[in-house]
Symmetry: C2
Subunit: 402 residues, 2 copies
């Protein structure tokens, strides 16, 4: 008997009719003889409405209480979905993150899953029930509710799939699968039938908002096959798995852009061992995720360090940077929150020289200035002015796919 984990996002369950639609999909999967575990997010804009309530009370609610508040959104979803499944004559039970045995660390609002104790889930599966688990949440060792941060429901689904040794983890969303670029911007973009974890990881990190990067990483580490599909139609979707080199005839699998980027530059950083650690440890201590980091050529025992953070983290980052600049004796810092990141991603890139050069050429031909460059084995990213982001994606898609 196959075990299938299905995850449905907020737009897939925004209204009672959509919940009934999902219930039908779930029951069909069950009736084909599978064991089914479903993970759901909060309905539509429930999370935003709860946040609004919090901000009517205070401008700076504490993270533990925000988690207590926001976790109710998924709890409402699981109860309603089980009612809809029961209504179709199928036995089902809802479980909160805590009840599903999802244990996290205690970094409220950005918690990470430490372990999953699947006893209760297995017990209910043994009784032939469909299990509906609240995504995005878990319980700390102390017994407090912690959320995994936005998009955390993907991680819940993949972690449960890994823990239950599920045959597949299906991620239902409002798009048909993973495209070569955002089809709302690039009409010529086409859908992949298969991509590798590494490519998906880069695509997910880089603004293709289909799937949470942490979820992909988890899936890769535990070799959980992912299927990304739409909950609104029966398109085949995109399968994400281990790289199959023969399939990679194209060096590039996607072009992405991300407007949620701000860059910070620190000038005249003394060139001595441990200085980078000092800077980025301070930022990590404040739970600020740093993305790209560029360090220039050392001149006169000093150099400049430039890095990017999300725009949401910028406000928290600036006072930290100010303090660092004082402490390490740098000459000053600047920031710019009107930049964007465009990237090309592809597992085939590593064996194809000249891909990066083709990218820079395509951007140059459109008169787009590159402010930062960062590369990995499967991607090349450039920070540019945010006003040129769309034009850049169009040029890059034309260069590599048309």
């Amino acid at each position: 008997m196959q075990i299938i984990v299905q995850k449905y996002g907020g737009s897939s369950i925004a209204e009672p009719e959509l919940i009934k639609n999902i219930a039908r999909r779930v029951v069909e999967t069950k009736q084909k003889g599978n064991r089914v575990v479903v993970v759901v997010s909060a309905m539509g804009d429930t999370t935003d409405e709860l946040l609004k309530m919090a901000h009517q009370i205070t401008a700076s609610p504490c993270d533990r209480e925000l988690d207590m508040l926001l976790s109710t959104g998924e709890q409402i979803s699981i109860a309603l979905l089980v009612m809809a499944i029961n209504n179709l004559g199928c036995s089902a039970v809802s479980l909160t993150g805590s009840q599903a045995g999802i244990v996290t660390d205690d970094v409220h609002s950005k918690a990470r899953i430490m372990k999953i104790d699947p006893d209760r889930v297995n017990q209910e599966l043994e009784q032939d029930k469909v299990i509906v688990v609240a995504g995005y949440q878990g319980i700390t060792e102390k017994g407090d509710i912690a959320t995994l941060g936005r998009g955390g429901s993907d991680t819940t689904a993949v972690a449960l799939a890994a823990s239950l040794k599920a045959n597949i983890c299906e991620i239902y969303t409002d798009v048909d699968g993973v495209y070569t670029a955002d089809p709302r911007i690039i009409p010529q973009a086409f859908k992949h039938n298969f991509i590798s974890y590494d490519e998906m990881l880069e695509l997910a990190s880089l603004g293709a908002l289909v799937l949470q990067p942490r979820a992909v990483e988890f899936a890769k580490n535990y070799a959980v096959p992912l299927l990304i599909r739409s909950s609104f139609n029966d398109c085949a979707g995109t399968l994400v798995g281990e790289v199959a080199t023969v399939e990679n005839c194209r060096p590039v699998s996607g072009v992405t852009h991300d407007l949620n980027v701000a860059k910070i530059g620190i000038f005249d950083v003394p060139d001595c061992p441990g200085i980078a650690k000092d800077i980025f440890q301070c930022l990590a201590d404040e739970q600020i995720n740093v993305d790209m980091i560029i360090q220039g050529w050392v001149r006169d025992d000093r150099n400049d360090i430039v890095f990017t953070v999300t725009r949401a983290d910028l406000e928290t980052a600036l006072p930290v940077v100010e303090k660092i600049v004082r402490e390490i004796g740098a000459s000053g810092f600047v920031y710019n929150d009107r930049v964007a990141k465009v990237s090309i991603v592809g597992a085939g890139m590593i064996t194809n020289s000249g891909v990066a050069a083709d990218m820079f050429k395509a951007l140059a031909e459109e008169g787009i200035n590159i402010e930062m460059i960062s590369t990995s084995e499967v991607k090349v990213s450039c920070v540019i002015d945010e006003g040129q982001a769309i034009k850049a994606v169009q040029a890059l898609h034309a260069e590599f796919f048309e």
Copy 2:
């Protein structure tokens, strides 16, 4: 250091401004040097809205899932109230029923508290925090969320007060205290400064919607002093405690009415041992609370049994009664859901003869026909036509208080 438990009902926290108002009361109590544990209900009509969502999915949601759904209402309240308390510079922490160690039986939607494990609450109190606990909910031995039924937040507050050996349990509501009758109907009604548990128990059971009867019973059994006050003003309220006979100069302390009554009559019940048990066990098995029970004089080895239930339970009760009638060989049954119950309550009644006769006389003078009578040590109740309920309360208040 005194321990004070405060309970705030739904109307006291219906809006952000009201939540801030409660936070001020809580912080004032804390600043007077007390340890404070707060129990809250769901905001305003949140519970009704959640029920509406459930009924958009299915006409008959299962109780376990309803509990999962409805318990989110209180969880939202506790998070928001803690944010408001924190905002006033006071340290506080929210706890769900489960986190507060409230263990219930597994009768979903009508669960009873089995025990309270106050470890976490005590631990947080030791750290000088205000504790805000979700009312109305607990956790079963199996780990499922169960609700205590409507008004269960009162029970949560009293049970916590008993378990923490609190000095007082303050019940904040939208009325100033316990009156001799509903002041909206009887302008001459006046407020009691003190009444006994037994009187409050009868008053609470009989439709004076100030306090949940189970909560009063709990308070009596564990000798928890209750103070019933308004959250909208600083009136002294009504203290509920052990009877102090000297204070009871009046035989009657209140007149109540209850429109949520339906009566059912079973005709020609065979007169043999165990037959009443058969009837009422079947009803109890369906979680139907039977209130008054009247059995007439046995004639020809048969008699009629008449009893009352709430109107909400009538629909569930009728098929049970139909089955019973068949099984025991009664001749048939009738019901009437257009009746009301009016009662007089008073701990002094037991030492004052003639009180019941005064009640019947007052009703007779208004031409009100009495359909059923039931008495206890501290009350006399009459079932009458619902159209005459208000007139009956006015006549009884005039008879005993004016």
